[in-house]
Symmetry: none
DNA sequence: GTTTTCCTCGGGAAATTTGCCCAGGAGCCT
DNA sequence: AGGCTCCTGGGCAAATTTCCCGAGGAAAAC
């Protein structure tokens, strides 16, 4: 009996590559492919695969959302996230959504195969890179970091994400620019980012910034 | 007479996939792989491949810079950019650097193979997606502001968007931090933004940053 | 009731970045 | 040769960031 795999990734070439890589191994075969969350969901219902391999970044609803959907349908589904993002936030989101494994694309090729086997036999799978990053970042917490900001800090964060200057924010809240700058610093250090650009990316992943960033700049 | 290909991509699994896909076809074989610009350059010197397939987003100096380097060494080198970014701006920069083709990873698998053949026989190669985007962007209005950046400035912008610090960028390009800071300033003023956050939003609208900010932070 | 904790607000001082100007050199076009 | 743009970085004042600190208040814990 072979492990029946469903591949979900928006890049056809990449799927092709996985398929070939996977099928080189005994006992695993790809029974279906899908290029987005919607068709991935349909394919899951059709084929009832043993393991689903999902990329996170896909047009439309992302891979993590697909995980959540599939798990609602079948809470025993074994889903492996396979992505380029070595991000603790993503990994946390993925596991919270019900994924059983998270492997980055920069891992050696057979890590994918062994992760599929792990998940199939009920063991969670994490690649070395993600283990490191999670260990490093979530020694203390485990929740969405942004939730730990105080209300005031959060308000100021929103203004920062709207690309307002320190002085504009200070004026809007009737604060000293110094106070705003201090909040800005506190936000960055509490969220563990080193620059405003990292801050934007982090907040985008948390859904705090419009995906298309249609900011009036 | 087989076409000898060098693959440059930072993800081992992805390279593996390309290799398998490519080698399924008659008359093409992968003679070497590299995981970053530096080793890609070395591999080019060692093997003198007929065609080089390069990803743009790689740690350290990016793929476009590698194109420029290789072309300096051998101005007949045939280089194909193969990337996830469906961006007219990236494509323009790539061609300006000396690439002969630009294909997105979301293209059907054999587009990669036929692009390699095209390039090998001297014809430029563009995938359908990029043709569309270039057409759309060129008839809507002239060039975007980003295209007015010099090659060097563009490379540095790329690193900035990857949330690299001034010192990291300086180290990657072997420049004085002061020079990088000057470029950073020049970029912001030429693009008419007042902060790094506005810069990110602008570049997102230009397609230079992945829609969901898939940066590993 | 009191201590502890957290939030809010800002000062201070050192370190760093920003904004802008300048200049030499390489390489191109005419 | 003369004029371009590009790449490279120094200089320097002004602004910002970074980090530490304290005070006042509210809420929660003891």
């Amino acid at each position: 009996m072979t492990i029946r795999v469903l591949l979900v990734d928006d890049h056809a070439v990449v799927r092709e590559g996985y398929r070939r890589l996977i099928e080189k191994h005994q006992g695993i075969s790809v029974v279906a492919e899908a290029e987005d969350a919607a068709s991935g969901y349909q394919a899951f219902k059709c084929h009832g695969p043993d393991v689903v391999v999902v990329d996170v970044s896909m047009p439309g609803r992302g891979g993590i959302d697909l995980v959540r959907q599939i798990r609602q349908l079948d809470c025993d589904a074994r889903i492996l996230i396979f992505t380029m993002h070595a991000s603790a936030t993503y990994a946390q989101q993925a596991f919270r959504a019900g994924a059983r494994g998270y492997v980055t694309k920069s891992s050696p090729p057979d890590v994918l195969v062994s992760a599929i086997r792990s998940i199939y036999s009920g063991r969670p799978a994490l690649c070395a890179e993600i283990n490191e990053i999670i260990a490093a970042s979530s020694l203390s917490d485990g929740m969405s970091v942004v939730d730990e900001l105080s209300p005031r800090a959060f308000e100021i964060l929103r203004m920062i994400l709207e690309a307002k200057s320190t002085d504009e924010i200070a004026a809007a809240f009737n604060l000293s620019p110094k106070t705003v700058a201090n909040y800005h610093y506190e936000i960055k250090s509490k969220l563990g980012v080193r620059s405003d650009i990292e801050l934007v990316y982090l907040c985008m992943r948390q859904g705090l910034v419009a995906p298309l960033a249609e900011q009036a700049v």
